[in-house]
């Protein structure tokens, strides 16, 4: 069982969206994250840099043909932090007696 630990860095809405997307993927393309999280290029770049500084994600920059391509993935530390954060949120909801119904 994952230990619960609330993570302020992850909990910010835009970063939570990014980390949630990356948690279901081995890696995800910059444009896919941007469009899925409804962020601008600059807002996503800023949030990715914050997560990278915390060693929660790894950013890969490369080329497909002549086009630059950026992708990101969760590091093991980032995945562990996300799972602990999830456990903390679930604990809070469980303590209140509420339930999360799957959509």
């Amino acid at each position: 069982m994952t230990a619960a630990r609330f993570d302020d860095l992850i909990h910010a809405p835009t970063r939570l969206a990014i980390v949630s997307l990356l948690a279901a993927a081995e890696w995800a393309d910059f444009k896919f994250i941007r469009d899925s999280a409804s962020l601008s290029d600059s807002a996503l770049s800023k949030q990715l840099a914050t997560l990278e500084q915390a060693h929660y994600i790894e950013i890969r920059r490369g080329f497909v043909g002549k086009r630059p391509r950026t992708s990101a993935r969760l590091t093991p530390a980032g995945r562990a932090a996300f799972e602990q954060h999830l456990a903390a949120l679930q604990e809070m909801v469980a303590r209140s007696g509420a339930t999360i119904l799957p959509r």
């Binding site: 609330f6 302020d8 909990h11 809405p13 939570l16 969206a17 949630s20 997307l21 948690a23 279901a24 993927a25 081995e26 890696w27 995800a28 393309d29 444009k31 896919f32 899925s36 999280a37 995945r79 996300f82 799972e83 999830l86 903390a88 949120l89 679930q90 809070m92 909801v93 303590r95 209140s96 509420a98 999360i100 799957p102 959509r103």
Partner: protein, 160 residues
């Protein structure tokens, strides 16, 4: 921050997490048209088999191979570009579902074809593949829904 967070906000955050993970899983779903395309290509191939002339076989095999490559390329192109699903989302149950579906379609199609041929029906392979193609078109989306359910059950934070 933890102390300040209201349970309703935590519940909303969990719902958002689920929504974003679903976006990645849904991106990996094979579209419905793909199954119908593969079903139609099976029929094309079977026409060549029933026709039994080298030219018919050559043409239908070429159409089948080219069509399958094109359809598969179009179906998975966006997925490989956008994101790769996390290993482990599709567990043994998913593999069993995929193999079971393929075995069911191939087994029923072959069985029907041999049965029709033994009964002396004309164009047994074409008729059997038409039935198999129908099964592919109708069953493919069901397989996708099953795989989606398995992957959602294996995502982080799901109630396993």
């Amino acid at each position: 921050m933890t102390d300040e967070l209201h349970p309703a906000e935590a519940a909303q955050a969990l719902a958002d997490i689920q929504k974003h993970q679903q976006q990645v899983i849904d991106r990996a779903t094979v579209p419905t048209w793909y199954w119908w395309a593969v079903g139609a290509l099976m029929v094309v191939l079977a026409v060549g088999v029933d026709n039994r002339t080298p030219i018919a076989l050559g043409v239908t095999v070429s159409v089948f191979v080219a069509g399958l490559l094109l359809a598969t390329g179009l179906a998975v192109r966006g997925q490989f570009r956008d994101a790769r699903l996390r290993n482990g989302l599709l567990d043994g149950r998913g593999v069993v579902a995929i193999l079971g579906f393929v075995a069911l379609i191939v087994g029923c199609t072959l069985g029907l074809a041999f049965g029709l041929r033994a009964a002396g029906v004309s164009y047994p392979a074409t008729l059997a593949c038409a039935a198999g193609g129908l099964g592919m078109g109708l069953g493919g989306p069901v397989l996708m829904r099953t795989l989606r359910r398995i992957m959602l059950g294996n995502r982080a934070g799901s109630a396993r």
